[in-house]
Subunit: 336 residues, 2 copies
DNA sequence: GTTGACTCCCAAAACGTTTCGGATGATATT
DNA sequence: AATATCATCCGAAACGTTTTGGGAGTCAAC
């Protein structure tokens, strides 16, 4: 409501002094500072955001791009992560704006809009592709950004990622140790870094034991995708006895397929992401998850540090994957 | 990168003319307009957002408050709704910022921060309570806002809501028509408007047929809450034969309880929200959903219209509820 | 009584845009 | 030939803040 000029006038002080008093500068006497603070409190004064942003040449905003895949925007806990991120950013005076890609516009155009209009101080990119044009653009412009998931970019950039390769490697080995030989992989779209990495982990484990890595179907990372991929795979004569699934959402679709095909209830399954819903499926879904605590907070911290100018090399977090043992990974001993 | 001054200089024009040319005013000749546009395009010029916001006294931002209930932020499709809203707002030059409530701060303080700092042109409130202090505050300040869910506020305000009372009334009647007499309700927290409304619908239907409305347990609107509520209700001697559940998430918890108690597989169940996951549970979850198409887009439209000054009375949408028949609502004929 | 240090305060510029109120010629009207 | 009309353009103010570069006054030291 009120602005600095009015506040200054009512106090018989200059705008400068009021501004500096509120910012706690030492060159205003303690008495005046207190008097100003009281008046500001009482008037409910808050500095006008646009004016400060203009003057300080900072947008006080960070944008997160939302993928526009039809009907699917990311795992169910994604919003929770964003919320944590926004909350932590807010302590530094930054707000988080969500930036879905409008139909008819590319993700690149959207980044451009935000960057060239100086609407943001940094960006958060999710669902990175192996070769990601958003990353290339932001690097060329020198805008700070952090990605959720690595890329194959030649230039380093800050990221947080789970070590999906190791995770899927280990998970596949576990199935092998339990006696499984025909272990299938329900893969996500291979242009996504995470999906490619998880598939490589599975492949590596199969090769480790001299087994063929041929039971693989690629599909959209959704319940429906998992369902369709599983149906396709289970109709093969060399049907797998265990499935390693790129995401929990796909795994939930797989569960449905397992209920529908004969003998499906003997097939073991593990997903990835540890969605809360996993405890409530039937059978309860075994899964994997990234270690490392509050993800949103970590993103916020990385964003703040990259804005502050820390080098990318120090802002890369690769977290180990841990297993979440529930029921679906040991439904029966593998036949033959 | 470039600003108006540089652009004007390089064209040998005044700042005024360049600005007006880009905004398509009629008092700059077609030839100059074209010349300016070309130069602007080529320089990748975008007006500085902060400067425009300051000058136009508009924040070009809308904030949506995120509930801070521990571990739960809303139904799984909530982000999708936000994305649709953000996308539509963007066509009017507005961005959507997400505003989680920091720990130690009330939702009210948060609204205050946004409003008094003139950081937003409007707010979107979700998970409204029957008596909602955020609503009261925004009304007192005269800031445009739209709510997801009605309130009991004496003053009208724009909202979008589903007619939960009718929906739950109808659903309960359907169970009665199928022969059920003991129909329970798994209720959400009653200070939420939607939860209260849904319970009233169930109660009304029970009373319609002279049945007691005593089989009701209130719990957190989460899978866990539904699970616990169901366990409590199923251990009663007068165990229900059918359950009407305030949300799908609670219903998914109920499904788990039904698997764990003896005879649980004969109990019918319906939820509300039509989460995508409902097709993939076992049994597939019958549900209800609000009619009315793209919810996010509707919110955006209401927000724009209330910012434009349309009266609240014209900005209230109460949508009918439709049923989504899958398997869980007819698991067996009711015993006795 | 001059100098220097120190405390407290302020005028003015700057951030980049939009917009108000003309100014300047050229053309049409009387 | 004077006047009105029109098409183009522009200077300057304004939005509300932060920050630069002092200015005035007090006090102590020389």
């Amino acid at each position: 409501m009120a602005n600095l000029k009015q506040l200054a006038q009512s106090l018989g002080l200059s705008i400068t002094t009021v501004s500096r008093a509120l910012d706690g500068y030492a060159d205003v006497s303690a008495a005046t500072r207190e008097r100003v603070r009281q008046a500001a409190d009482q008037a409910g004064y808050r500095p006008n955001a646009s004016a400060r942003r203009l003057r300080k040449q900072r947008a006080e905003l960070v944008a997160v791009t939302l993928p526009s895949e039809p009907g699917h925007i990311g795992p169910a806990h994604f919003l929770e992560m964003l919320s944590g991120c926004a909350e932590h950013l807010a302590t530094a005076g930054l707000n988080l704006v969500i930036a879905p890609v409008p139909s008819g516009e590319s993700e690149l155009d959207m980044c451009r809009r935000f960057v060239d209009g100086q609407r943001v101080d940094a960006m958060l990119l999710v669902r990175t592709k192996r070769r990601d044009e958003r990353v290339e653009f932001l690097q060329s412009r020198g805008i700070p950004f952090v990605t959720n998931g690595r890329t194959e970019s030649a230039i380093q950039h800050p990221f947080i990622d789970g070590d999906g390769l190791s995770g899927f490697h280990q998970a596949t080995l576990r199935f092998q140790d339990a006696g499984h030989r025909r272990i299938g992989h329900i893969a996500g779209p291979q242009d996504y870094f995470f999906a490619h990495e998880r598939k490589k982990g599975w492949e590596m484990a199969m090769r480790d034991r001299g087994l063929p890595a041929d039971l693989c179907v690629e599909q959209a990372p959704t319940e429906q995708g998992g369902y369709e991929a599983a149906l396709a795979m289970l109709n093969r004569p060399d049907r797998p006895t265990a499935l390693v699934c790129a995401t929990d959402e796909m795994a939930i679709g797989v569960l449905r397929a397992l209920r529908e095909v004969e003998g499906g209830d003997t097939i073991s399954l593990v997903g990835h992401d540890d969605l809360p819903i996993g405890s409530f499926t039937s059978p309860a879904l075994s899964s994997m998850r990234m270690t490392g605590g509050n993800l949103g907070r970590s993103f916020a911290s990385l964003l703040l540090r990259t804005i502050a100018g820390e080098p990318a090399e120090k802002l890369q977090e690769l977290h180990a994957i841990e297993f979440v043992d529930r029921d679906s990974h040991q439904r029966s001993s593998p036949a033959k």
